[in-house]
Symmetry: D2
Subunit: 201 residues, 4 copies
């Protein structure tokens, strides 16, 4: 089990996918031990490390980043997490396509990610999922529509809210202030391969 | 990757932990491949199967249930999921203690689960997590207070809301109606082992 | 129209009913110009002043408070608001019953208010509403059950959340942090008077 | 007090502003007895009637509608509500400007309402409020930006959620399903008049 303290030790440069969003990604895509993931962009490596902790030991996370400073930070964080065998941080221009394919999951977390949705489609196995992590409502809409245009099915868009409760012996209530928003999430599923129909069928 | 369709094929008798809650459990406890989980009660086996898909292939889920009909249903669902090597469904009276220990995670999803919190403490590794899944606010409060009394630290209580968005080319908005509530979740962490102080220290 | 700036000038001692909760009270009870309101306890007078601004000029708000310092503060705030003809702040032990009746609306905002629910029933017109403002979930439950026991119908319990959005030309999203909770609201409606049936009917 | 039953008797053709949104409008603008309101478009008259019940008896609601069938429906509903002295339903092309001014509040509830925001500015008193009721996030953004461009200050955008709770003696929890969304609300305040500075000041 990854210790919570570990996450506090990770150096965080760019913004990270928060736990509530990571949880929804794992849960709704059914990601599991042994799966292959493409993650773009790496940022601080936070999402790659969380994904790597799920697909390890046999699975793989290929994480692409075009900024050298972020790639360097992500690589250091992956090492600290002891997941260098599972996660590969590589430099790539994700708008030009992904250098890997056969993925069970592609996560896209960068500005303009709707432009990369057709590349995600190409890089996924049948039945695989592409997930967009998008701060603004308009980006959610564009990503969703790009997914439908690229041939994805089972397209849906959500936001996740976690409310903390204040518990005392005499009574409980939600905390007065809380986290309202990190990002919208869009889930796109590539159609499952259909059996070839023969004249005997 | 577990196919979404698979989950639709599972026979669901008792109420199941919904995906949003499962996601928060994985995410906030840091559960990963290779971990050991105690799950009580089994219900339809839904939570055990989701947990098993994360800890496989080297990890284990020990799932305890005292109703024979639920145990039977859970066992069939585990078989269908192809996880019989990872998940063991056993009959046990969880109010009397767990027949296993050394767990990274204990999940408690049954009425009166606050009474079993001290047993969860005993069955966990240092730094491990106990998670309660509780329909009512009063149950959340009682579980939380039982956790603090049993010696847990880092105690917190949440509820998770997932809002679906309706996306159309001319604009986006949340869907008119949606799921408001499944359960409250309480997270209790067992203190990490402290180094033994000797007279030389 | 009451200026927003006015509200900033009010001296606030005890906690006040926030605008989102005030809005729900007006909206769901249908309070309007000319109505009679009983308000207990006065606190800083904030709720009495808001209610007074709706029922003025012909309506009345009788606001009861047992702490002298709060009553004094409320009276000063009512004067500043120019509503001394509409709102009367009086000292009263609300657990012993209300010195007024024939109310369209009774608002109860003090610890232990469930004990005063039968007094509210007695003080209301047929079809009138009693609203409880309650910080904790357990208080909401007790107030609601006291309402059902006292003969109210159309009983319901809610919480109201207002999310602020951050709007920029390139896109919009909810603000990162926000107000999660002020109070639960319980609405109890006294049954409408039924026509007396005679043997001719 | 307006009886809840009354609202059930209103004929509802076009979509209505729901109670939670009406409550936020009253509460955040400080509307009160005696105020003047411009309401466009009338729709079924629901919002005009709720506003009329607050500003009566001395205030006025001028409600504009360009569809003859809606205007007719609204007029009938206003009569049923007994508010014909307070509310005037008139036909008008609101994109060409409002035939009234000196308003404390202008409510805009129709597609393309951002185009009418400068007309609302012209029709308002200093310190008055313009409120937009907007189904989609993109409409909220456009209305908000039109407000800032037209000279409004204190611009803010919200959505309001009301969660119903299920209360039973053994415990309470939010209802499983609920209303997620009706509309976004944008509030624009016209700057208060500033005193003219003379050379003597």
């Amino acid at each position: 089990m990854l210790q919570k303290l570990f996450f506090k030790r990770l150096k965080r440069g760019p913004q990270v996918v928060l736990e509530k969003d990571f949880g929804a990604i794992i849960s709704l895509t059914g990601l599991q031990s042994g799966d292959t993931v493409i993650d773009a962009g790496s940022g601080s490596g936070f999402l790659a490390i969380r994904l790597g902790s799920i697909v390890a030991p046999a699975g793989k996370v290929y994480s692409f980043e075009w900024r050298d400073d972020f790639a360097e930070l992500a690589r250091k964080n992956v090492e600290k997490a002891g997941l260098s065998d599972v996660i590969e941080i590589a430099k790539a221009d994700v708008f030009a396509g992904f250098p890997k394919d056969g993925a069970d999951l592609v996560t896209l977390d960068f500005a303009g990610s709707d432009k990369a949705v057709p590349h995600a489609f190409a890089a996924l196995k049948s039945g695989g999922w592409c997930v967009g992590i998008l701060p603004n409502a308009e980006q959610m809409r564009d990503f969703y529509l790009a997914g439908a245009a690229a041939g994805f099915e089972a397209v849906h868009a959500i936001d996740v809210t976690v409310k903390n409760w204040l518990i005392r012996p005499h009574g409980c209530r939600p905390e007065t202030m809380g986290l309202n928003h990190t990002a919208f999430l869009v889930f796109l599923q590539k159609p499952a391969a259909k059996p070839i129909k023969t004249s005997d069928a």
